[in-house]
Symmetry: C2
Subunit: 395 residues, 2 copies
């Protein structure tokens, strides 16, 4: 039960401003009539509020002729002069995108890590350079509202300290502070899977769903959750560590110190090694194994089936714990699921005697590998969407 | 992200009424001065709102002399003339309590099932009789606001249909509708572990925490969660099914159709059978095994240690997934934890290489076996706490 607090009228106004801005950011250009209906406010209130957003430079109003009867309608349009820079720090590459209010990707670049190194100083420098290039290439009148970064690790909510990002070899790295100092701009950092589920919810395979599990595997497995429409963060921002549920008491040993973690049974390298391939080939190598399995190579087929069974074991635990409407699969989980859908579903449904559970739909991520990147943009838009009046006036 | 909606002034007033009533229900008698401070509203607003609550018969105001300076203070007191009936349908017994606004248990009775039967018609009749006896024994001027029931099973949120309660042998039983019809009163039903976490949050071991896992074992294991201060229900009310996470790929077979579920490794009967006792002895038999282990009986000691290790495996998965501030243990999980705390903690912390996670405190349930019962009372108080103005005027 949240602590009850009183609500004043200024707060009310801010809530309504926020509601309008969030709506046009999410849906794109929206008529005043739709806003009036959707928010349950009267027309003059909507007019005053959109006027204020316009004077803040966050929206423009256009008069459009909509529908057959030719009546002109005021269209409230998110202003793409407001942008954020989104960054996804992956194990293999860094992706940087310029994203406008309303969610459109205006520019985007990708680069491998410098000499393949994950040293935090190198990563900060690479990211900073890519951001500067991106902003330099953009037209001059843009207002950059912030920088959002996705990292594959546990991030402390208060200050963006990266507590542990095993696949980058980071422990207690003040990445966010370093990047913010280097850029002289505020930076927000989040866990890649938490940002992935956010993006899939706002613009992907989970639009319209409030209870969502996003599970994405590459080397490790990331989990991001929406619970009743809100992101699951946990007390300190570490929730969603799905890879280290024990699924087998007999092993194998996991790098975390325990045995039989889900991550030791699924994931890119597990599949590759079971199929007799070298670890480290990434999504392309996984695709090759799946193609070989389809072409009849027994060892590849066995590997795909085995990993599909274990995918189902973990998804089943998640479905039982969270009762989501939809489970969105990313990375190699999506690859295996598309290759062996029936087998994964069989494994998920193995405890059918348990209960007539609500059906959770399984889907591939609609934003593909970009979910965390788009989620990082949403993270960076967060402050202005929460407090439109606090938008910086300098461009 | 919740769908943004506009907020009107009538809604604002209702929110403030609600905030005051929830505060005095949770904290007990509270001075106007504290309410003013806590809710951030001015004194005259608080006065008007408590006046309205008083005219609705939900609170009384008393003038008390508080503190050393002898200044009289208006004390807002929840009126215990408003009661609910709380019911906990267990496998062995039914408990019924009369609970006043403010949370005090005014009366309470417990009875075994009729001829040990769980047939839904028998259970409905037993519960109804116990409720009628409870209300008949109470003083005449009470206003009964509702009936709340805890059941050990999956409950559909919309209508209280009990989808599956394996330890009662129920599948798709319209228990709530049957009881409501029999009593001619509204009845709300919830899962016992979901209600347990609610009670521990409002009045038990999890007061002040927003991210809480409540895990309680008897024959099966129930899980109830608070996530960011809100109950985890899942899309259809089935979330928190912790007993059927697979923790061992090699078995044993579980009654759910799968193998190696957590429930096959912990729980009363698992402990009893591993210690060479007969299943079915309940908490007393578990206590006997723990005493025997302490006295040096090797088989009992081995059973306790083994179950303690497996308790830790499941708790570890929950800690990794939810990152709770506190894990509240009930039933035989609490018994085993108190008997072998160091061993459970060792097992929970087995993946120390994973990350410096936020510390989750492990605790026994403060309300003991009453957590679901007290949670059922909170469920029944829910409508009036949400909409104080909609309180029925008839006593």
């Amino acid at each position: 039960m949240p602590t009850p607090t009183g609500v004043g009228t200024e707060e009310l106004r801010r809530a309504n401003l926020r509601a309008i801005l969030q709506t046009v950011h999410t849906l794109g250009p929206t008529t005043r009539a739709v806003l009036t209906k959707q928010l349950g406010l009267n027309r003059s209130t909507i007019g005053a509020l959109t006027g204020e957003l316009q004077s803040l430079g966050l929206v423009t109003e256009q008069t459009a002729v909509v529908g057959g009867r030719g009546r002109p309608s005021h269209l409230v349009v998110p202003s793409e002069d407001n942008v954020v820079v989104a960054v996804d720090v992956g194990v293999d590459r860094i992706a940087v995108a310029l994203v406008g209010l309303g969610g459109e990707v205006l520019d985007r670049r990708t680069r491998g890590h410098q000499r393949g190194e994950h040293d935090v100083a190198h990563v900060v420098e690479s990211v900073a350079q890519m951001i500067e290039e991106t902003l330099a290439a953009s037209s001059g009148h843009l207002r950059c509202l912030g920088v959002g970064v996705a990292v594959p690790g546990a991030v402390r909510a208060e200050d963006g300290m990266v507590r542990f990002a095993p696949n980058l070899g980071w422990v207690e790295e003040p990445f966010t502070e370093l990047l913010s100092t280097r850029l002289d701009r505020p930076v927000s950092t989040g866990n890649d899977a938490n940002l992935g589920v956010l993006a899939e919810h706002v613009r992907g395979a989970a639009v319209g769903f409030s209870d969502v599990a996003y599970l994405s595997a590459s080397v490790g497995i990331g989990g991001g959750f929406l619970v009743g429409g809100r992101p699951l963060t946990g007390a300190s921002g570490y929730a969603g560590e799905v890879g280290h549920m024990q699924v087998d008491g007999t092993g194998p040993d996991c790098r975390c110190g325990a045995v039989g973690c889900w991550e030791t049974k699924v994931g890119e390298n597990v599949l590759l090694q079971r199929a007799g391939r070298l670890a480290g080939g990434g999504p392309e190598a996984v695709a090759e194994v799946i193609a070989a399995a389809r072409a009849g190579e027994p060892r590849a087929a066995e590997a795909v089936n085995d990993v599909a069974d274990w995918c189902g074991v973990g998804i089943r635990a998640i479905v039982n714990l969270f009762n989501p409407e939809v489970v969105v699969l990313g990375g190699s989980l999506a690859q295996v699921w598309r290759a062996a859908e029936a087998r994964v579903v069989d494994s998920v449904q193995r405890n059918t005697l348990l209960s007539p559970r609500g059906d959770a739909a399984l889907r591939s991520a609609a934003l593909g590998d970009d979910s965390p990147l788009i989620g990082a943009a949403e993270l960076a838009f967060g402050p202005v969407l929460d407090h439109p009046q606090a938008v910086p006036q300098a461009v």
